[in-house]
């Protein structure tokens, strides 16, 4: 593979300015997809499996209280419009990010919750990664636990999925890596001590042991972007939502695990 001859030939081709197409990145075939859960050690799996041990459930409980508490100028609680979340929110997280007609772009679940706050409750939006927003998001998403991930396959969303995919495939940052280099091509390997995994967003918001906290999918994405030493995006940026959307299409059909636990 690394015969000096080949290397010299390649070096000369490059020197001559002949572009060599990088090997096409291969997306993971559906039958080989595995949740981040399956890469975890048995003791970490046990934390996720037991609701009384899973710290994420504390946020879910807080979220339930917020669901039922009145807020904003209209004095409405989420429950005043949506009633029992166990029925009305079932399956909702499985199809987010979803298209918002007024904004003409996809919004993620946190943004949807904040749109309800501003549009329906006439309350101020929660800050990204605040305890309240994570709690409400975790509570809503938990109603979809076990539901199959099913992002809408509409013509309106298609260009945003495509943008997310482009971002995932593109090399960037000082380390010149693309998401695909690790998560499509090396998911059976380890980066120092960490399993690389397939980057499937099955359990967000997650309780991450390293964070000692619940955190959103965007927090996780920002971690990887920082690791690549690439320019980051603010929470809620369209680019991060597009990336979320693309990741959900990769996970189509897999069950929601929220609140998942990760190392």
């Amino acid at each position: 593979m690394k015969s000096a001859g080949t290397i010299v030939a390649v070096a000369l081709l490059i020197a001559a300015g002949i572009a060599i197409a990088p090997l096409a990145a291969t997306e993971i075939p559906p039958a080989e997809r595995r949740s981040g859960y399956s890469f975890m050690a048995p003791d970490t799996k046990a934390i996720q499996d037991d609701d009384t041990a899973n710290p994420g459930m504390l946020w879910v409980l807080d979220g339930e209280a917020l669901w039922n508490s009145k807020a904003g100028a209209t004095g409405n609680a989420c429950a005043d419009c949506h009633n029992d979340a166990r029925a009305s929110m079932k399956g909702v997280a499985a199809r987010y990010p979803a298209y918002d007609k007024a904004l003409a772009r996809p919004v993620n679940l946190e943004q949807r919750i904040n749109l309800c706050r501003t549009r329906q409750q006439q309350a101020t939006p929660f800050a990204f990664e605040s305890r309240d927003l994570l709690a409400l998001t975790a509570f809503v998403a938990e109603q979809s636990r076990g539901a199959a991930i099913a992002p809408e396959a509409t013509a309106e969303l298609a260009p945003f999925v495509a943008k997310g995919r482009d971002f995932f495939m593109r090399r960037q940052g000082q380390l010149n890596l693309g998401c695909t280099n690790c998560h499509d091509d090396n998911w059976d390997k380890h980066l120092a001590g960490s399993a690389v995994t397939q980057a499937l967003p099955t359990g967000y918001p997650i309780y991450r042991l390293e964070w000692q906290s619940l955190g959103s999918l965007q927090r996780r994405l920002r971690n990887c972007i920082t690791g690549m030493r690439a320019q980051n995006y603010d929470y809620g940026a369209p680019e991060l939502v597009e990336l979320e959307l693309y990741l959900m299409t990769r996970a189509r059909g897999m069950p929601i695990e929220t609140p998942a636990v990760r190392p």
Binding site: K2, A4, I7, V8, V10, A11, I14, A15, I20, P22, L23, R170, R171, Q172, G173, Q174, L175, N176, L177, N181, C182, D185, N186, K189, H190, L191, A192, G193, V196, T226, R229, A230, Q231, N232
Partner: protein
């Protein structure tokens, strides 16, 4: 033989000459320090052991995205190791190994790292000196 111009903008890279698959001359004009090189390879910010393993019994977390560094000095000359570190993608355009002494051709680099190579010429020489001692 091919002489490379310095990258435009940012930190000035020292010029070097690629001969075949190697950079024969030290980037600094002086030999590196193998002891410092070993410490650098193990340092998290150098990123090497995120992907590579090697003869580092004290380090619990080593990567397996890349071949072990053990025996590097038997397989490659110092000049070959130097080009591999400076710009592995010149040897294999599809490689995931970053180019440690390059500032051009990169996309969306975070402001803190923009215009800077990942390692300095001195650091590359120290690592080359260390890798050359890894004989099998």
């Amino acid at each position: 033989m091919l002489a490379l111009p310095c990258a435009a903008g940012g930190q000035e890279l020292r010029p070097y000459t690629i001969t075949g698959d190697a950079i024969v001359e030290s980037l600094t004009g002086a030999p590196g320090d193998a002891v410092r090189g070993r410490a650098l390879v193990l340092e998290r910010t150098s990123t090497c052991i995120l992907c590579h393993s090697g003869p580092f019994p004290e380090e619990k977390f080593q990567g397996d995205l890349a071949p072990s560094l053990s025996g590097s000095g038997s397989r490659w000359s110092k000049g070959q190791l130097r080009l591999r570190l400076v710009s592995a993608s010149r040897l294999n355009p599809a490689t995931i190994m970053p180019s440690y002494y390059r500032v051009d051709g990169l996309d969306r680099v975070a402001p803190a790292w923009r215009g800077k190579p990942i390692l300095s010429a001195e650091q590359i020489e120290d690592i080359v000196a260390y890798l050359a001692t890894l004989l099998e």
